[in-house]
Assembly symmetry: C2
Homo-oligomer: 209 residues x 2
């Protein structure tokens, strides 16, 4: 297996943390997203969508999309479980991971990609050119802040995002909070449960991945 990665990008960090929690090391190739390497002929053969992460399997085929990559790793290396153990737990992890993606991570991507100077003409990930929409950047910021409140409410009653155990949903949420901070979308100080959770998951060695 080989992971196509970019050390400074949020989506591949989700896979890096997932692997670190499992204690797995795999060969990695860095793709220089800021230099446009994802659009090279060589990388298009790996993933025609021109995004990382991508996981090349030993048969040469390639899995992209974080949720699919993590599911593959989870099935190959079940311990420790990061996607739930029982059917109900697995459904809750999947649900919360999807909520964090759709209400948090994609909104953050809207905020970032529609405002960053270096992404003019690349407001959507992938090979196609789309101009930035400044109103969408603003909406994205507002939605991320709104979602932080929902996460705080959930974390008031649960130790982790999807319940009693650390899971993939925590990884997605950690990457959201950290990258949002990097683009200056800061969780308000009064969200004490979100802050408590963020402090805890940030202390795990995997957070350095």
């Amino acid at each position: 297996m080989r992971l196509y990665d970019c050390k400074t990008a949020p989506s591949p960090r989700r896979v890096r943390i997932f692997l670190a929690e499992k204690g797995i090391e795999i060969e990695t190739t860095q793709i220089d997203l800021w230099g446009g390497e994802q659009f090279s002929e060589a990388f298009r053969k790996v993933n025609p969508d021109c995004v990382v992460p991508a996981l090349e399997l030993d048969d040469g085929s390639c899995i992209s999309e974080v949720v699919a990559i993590c599911q593959y790793i989870e099935e190959m290396h079940p311990e420790p479980a990061l996607m739930g153990v029982t059917t109900e737990e697995r459904a809750h992890v999947s649900m919360w991971n999807a909520k964090v993606e759709q209400q948090g991570l994609w909104a953050m991507a809207d905020a970032f990609r529609n405002s960053a100077k270096g992404l003019q003409g690349h407001a959507v990930t992938g090979p196609d050119a789309y101009p930035q929409i400044p109103e969408l950047a603003e909406r994205g910021r507002a939605r991320v802040l709104q979602f932080f409140k929902r996460l705080d409410t959930q974390l008031a009653d649960h130790e982790f995002v999807a319940g009693d155990s650390y899971s993939m949903a925590d990884i997605t949420a950690l990457v959201l909070v950290d990258f949002a901070r990097w683009i200056k979308i800061l969780a308000p100080d009064d969200l004490a449960d979100l802050a408590r959770w963020h402090g805890e998951v940030s202390k795990r060695p995997s957070a350095a991945a």
Copy 2:
């Protein structure tokens, strides 16, 4: 189990088709999305995100998000498998389902929700008010048309979206193509493989769900 559904909306149709393929019938409650019933106090107790589908389990807890609902049903009723059988197949179904969602379904939602007269102030699903962004509606239309080309390319080499077997990725793509047509985003006639596939999956009895 009880499914909270809306007969005319695309997301719950994904679950209805999934259930029909499994041959499962469950109790269903229709939520009148166009009348705003999703924002009622009663439904907020079921799903505070104010969206359908939502699956209420026998213990009273609720699973939302299509991918989590389908995963739960797949684990409870494994035959016929709609999310792949081997680890590799399961990763491919998960990957293609995510691609169809992100590049197709969410782009279509951008097109619809940012232009429909009845959705002014509700440009994002959920309880929060966001104004429509007409430029985003246009971008959404362009992205859906672009994605139809990618689907056509994939279907030139594969009978179904994720490979040799009908799967959840076909269900997501069928709902995309049909709802896009309803909002007048039509797949160009020269996408012959997409048309062949659409004809085949539309003939399955589940497509009427």
